[in-house]
Symmetry: C2
Subunit: 456 residues, 2 copies
């Protein structure tokens, strides 16, 4: 019995650049210059620009595959290939003939797929002469990933972490500090946005404010750059290591999935697994559905509109054309902090608008039930975010719509710091999914009435 | 590029039963019947007996390999094979030519190697008609493992968890409860031992008391059994899945280690990796050193004596012939709760007494420094226990005693719930290793003066 499981040789040599497969879709994500000029905040904003190497990756429609530099592959080799397994015990529990495969991205030190892009970004920023990366983080996975990646490449790192999350998961802050990062509780007293927020009555903290603080600080420090964990085309590109690996892992089993499930925040773990498999399906005329799973509490794909909108609440980030619930929509508090984002990656939105991918919304209760069921049978406690993808798959199986097929669930991270969420579910103490339809309608109406959105 | 990493085919079919290789050593671990009768508490104790299937495994000197039943291999396949990797980034940081390999046992839901035996035990107890497993746990890894394994096989589970650890790591208790276990804070009010302990002035909680409570409760419940997480021959046998897997993983690389490092509490993760490799070295006339790494705070192998002693403080468990610091020795509070045990597995002790394995003691500060260094370069935060093994290896490398060799470090678990320990190290707030030599001498003298110990 020969086992090969430790070598840089097992790491794919390329990322899958799906922009090259769909240049027209890519084109459709760009905001028309005439519209861009009419955007309200266009002149006021100073948004830190990507260095050329990352900027190129975000707009490359020529190269179908992007070479992964050796230093990045070496770092990948410390935790990849990640497990790809058949969930036979879960199948048995569900009494299904469907073969359930899963990919698990939570076995690295950051606890989620975020490290795949953090390593790549730290490498490219370092090459571009950047000395210091600054970012905002919600639940802390992205913060942990970038803190870890920065110490690998000798970059300084500053993270603004949403105060509520920081108190819920102090371990994440401490871990970032173990890797030498400076972590500020957001709202902080070191930025104008932080001070302004703190001075307001009933002020609410949010990832948007943490991000705004990070951008403000970045603009004040020479050699600093602002790093984003999802949404950008280059981030989705780095995450395609997941899908490329799955293609290799499936090859030896001689299978191809009928459906692929992944949760969607801004879209990086979904794009990471879906893009390489979507290309493969297109090239080989295979049928496969890609299901983007979102929370009922944040249904941008299933209930949002395709419009030009701000990427964050405070308006510190640029506009994108995307599926959105409105940048002013306050997403209800759910345990899956990584899915509490009003919009979706522009390119992913274009794919969805053109029916290359599907979407569904799942309740928090259903997702945590599925996550716990998965843990009991397969021995992995999924992150609350990833549990949404599992729930959607189980839902389909229970509706008996899959039968003898193969499915893949992408499990983006572990839930070891989210045990309280599962406990709340088990004790029947979860609040119902509070999606206020009037608020949603109101926010979408604002977008519809924007002169730059030509929506009928 | 073909990748095989998901199949029961990759799980070894046998455990390595080293008793069959060393029948005389096994024989030497048995306490002479005449001495046994003279043991002080021999008549008072009611220690729950192992069912026949597990008892046989603990005393089998005939079968070199023990077949792993299919249901156990299926469960193993949900998280095995575990990673076996070369720590190239750590090598670079240490500027060494030594090739450092590591085996990582922390990627399962229990967070440590303990699950390897918990699954096997739950299976065998179930077969033997047991309905309910009861145990004591310190830091919680064993408790989590047995709770998880019990729900897999439909057994009831009760865990007594040391109160101090429970407050330090409430997540572990909650996780056990997610898997349906009943968890009592020890000392509890539901056993006589617990009540007695609580009524004493300045009473101290300990694993010994938690274990005593578990044994007491076991004796009161029909169909219940007491499960142990380490020390027993059958537990060490189950853990040899680790070393058998390493043999497979090394074969494809065509290497054999010059040294193997693992930490030692009672000895199950050490035995798990060492036994199959020791057999291989003996059979093929290869030279390999096996280093059992213990804390300076609990130096049973390097400073204890080889004697007949109780397995726990309260005297609820049987006597063993082993390396020990004395069952009344209170191990100083160190973060590596799993290594705070005064004795060592009887069979491991016999191997040590006969120079088949070596030992060294490492300070807590050195171990956490090594654990953090490993995390920074290799992306795995080791359990404080496992960090001792890493520190011993780095120590040898820095003394330049290894040069071009290959070494393997067994990393028994992850440290995601032990971030506070690393933080304390980083902030220079660790207390010094407080080993009171007079206390140690006093305890060892008690053993020496015992009439049943013929020590000169």
């Amino acid at each position: 019995m020969k086992v090969k499981n430790m070598s840089i040789e097992l790491i794919p040599t390329y990322w899958c650049n799906l922009l090259a497969d769909f240049p027209d879709l890519y084109q459709s994500t760009l905001i028309d210059p005439s519209i861009r000029l009419s955007l309200p905040a266009a002149t006021k904003k100073v948004f830190p620009k990507l260095p050329l190497n990352l900027l190129k990756q975000s707009h490359n429609v020529t190269d179908a595959n992007i070479f992964i530099p050796e230093p990045i592959r070496k770092m990948y080799a410390t935790y990849r290939p990640t497990p790809f397994r058949r969930a036979m015990l879960l199948e048995k529990a569900l009494e299904t003939r469907t073969h359930i495969y899963y990919k698990f991205e939570g076995s690295n030190i950051s606890g989620s797929h975020k490290l795949n892009s953090a390593i790549a970004q730290a490498y490219y920023y370092k090459l571009a002469g950047v000395k210091h990366l600054i970012t905002g983080t919600g639940a802390g996975q992205w913060g942990t990933a970038i803190a870890y990646a920065c110490q690998l490449f000798g970059l300084e790192c500053t993270v603004f972490m949403v105060d509520v999350s920081l108190r819920q998961k102090p371990q994440r802050k401490k871990m970032m500090e173990l890797f030498g990062a400076t972590v500020h509780e957001s709202p902080s007293t070191i930025t104008e946005l932080g001070l302004k927020t703190l001075s307001e009555k009933n002020s609410q903290s949010s990832l948007a404010i943490a991000t705004g603080e990070a951008i403000e600080l970045t603009n004040k420090i020479d050699g600093a750059q602002f790093a984003v964990g999802s949404g950008e085309n280059n981030v989705l590109l780095h995450q395609t290591i997941i899908g490329n690996e799955v293609l290799n892992q499936m090859e030896s089993l001689n299978i191809f999935p009928d459906k692929v499930y992944a949760c969607v925040g801004a879209g990086s773990n979904f794009g990471g697994i879906a893009f390489p498999l979507l290309r493969h399906a297109q090239l080989h005329n295979k049928h496969c559905e890609f299901i983007a799973v979102e929370p009922v509490a944040c249904p941008k794909l299933t209930k949002g509109i395709y419009a030009i909108d701000l990427n964050d609440f405070s308006g510190a980030s640029p506009y994108s054309k995307m599926y959105t619930l409105g940048s002013q929509f306050i997403v209800p508090a759910i345990h899956a902090g990584g899915l509490r984002y009003h919009g979706t990656s522009a390119f992913l939105s274009a794919l969805y608008a053109n029916h290359y991918i599907k979407a569904c919304a799942i309740s928090q209760e259903k997702s945590l039930a599925a996550g716990l069921l998965f843990a009991k049978h397969e021995g992995i406690l999924p992150a609350p975010e990833s549990a949404y993808a599992i729930a959607a798959a189980i839902d389909d199986i229970e509706k008996n719509s899959l039968r003898d097929g193969n499915i893949i669930i992408n499990i983006s991270g572990h839930g070891l710091f989210d045990i309280a969420a599962y406990e709340q579910y088990q004790e029947n103490k979860l609040p119902p999914d509070a999606i206020a339809n009037e608020v949603l309608r109101h926010n979408i109406n604002i977008l519809k009435n924007n002169s730059f959105n030509h929506i009928t």
